[in-house]
């Protein structure tokens, strides 16, 4: 019984973001490589470019995932460089979030131990939900 009343040691943290694919299409048309290289890693760009027709949608989903991850990480002050939050693909085609540099350090600092991402697309909209598990702060101090 006492065990059942114990508080969980991990708390969920959720972020969600919605991006219009036409916004990404416009950014690609107007800013081209400058847009790509400012926001996406070389692997994200390479994967998105495999299909010209799918490219804006893939990029929109990835930008949504980066913003959703930021909502989980909750940086104060400055934004994080979007390229420090990368959407990677497993050999089976599932997507995962990989953090680099300052983004990884922020996750450590906040006790975020795991991240999971899910996407959906419909017509002109791409949505990403990122779930993180945050270690309780009192447990982290001990």
């Amino acid at each position: 019984m006492a065990e059942a009343l114990q508080r969980p040691r991990w708390l969920p943290a959720v972020g969600i973001d919605l991006v219009q694919v036409c916004d990404v299409q416009q950014a690609l048309s107007q800013h081209g490589d400058v847009y790509l290289k400012r926001l996406y890693t070389s692997d994200e760009i390479e994967y998105s470019r495999r299909s010209a027709s799918e490219m804006p949608r893939r990029l929109a989903a990835r930008f949504a995932a980066k913003e959703a991850t930021l909502k989980v990480l909750r940086p104060t002050g400055h934004w994080l460089d979007w390229r420090l939050i990368e959407v990677t693909r497993t050999e089976h085609g599932h997507c995962e979030i990989e953090l680099h540099g300052a983004a990884a350090a922020l996750a450590d600092e906040q006790g975020i131990g795991a991240l999971s991402v899910s996407f959906s697309h419909e017509n002109d909209l791409a949505v990403a939900v990122v779930m993180g598990l945050r270690h309780r702060s009192e447990d982290r101090k001990s």
Partner: protein, 79 residues
Amino acid sequence: MNEKIRTILKEHGRLTVDANTIDDNADLYQAGMTSHSSVNVMLALEGGFDVEFPDRMLKRAVFESVAAIRAAIEELTAA
């Protein structure tokens, strides 16, 4: 400078109000600018004013109003 900023906001900000008449201090995010469109605005400002926003200026407050954007551009062009 304000006119150029407003033109960029009109073309890239996806505001739900007229960028030409929005108050200098009005919150652009409240006026419809999304996180993605703020990136488009940032890139258009860099091209339009031949500047590059350093990491320390990549924050919501820098792009939240016409006045804030003007202050940032003035700081970058004065350097």
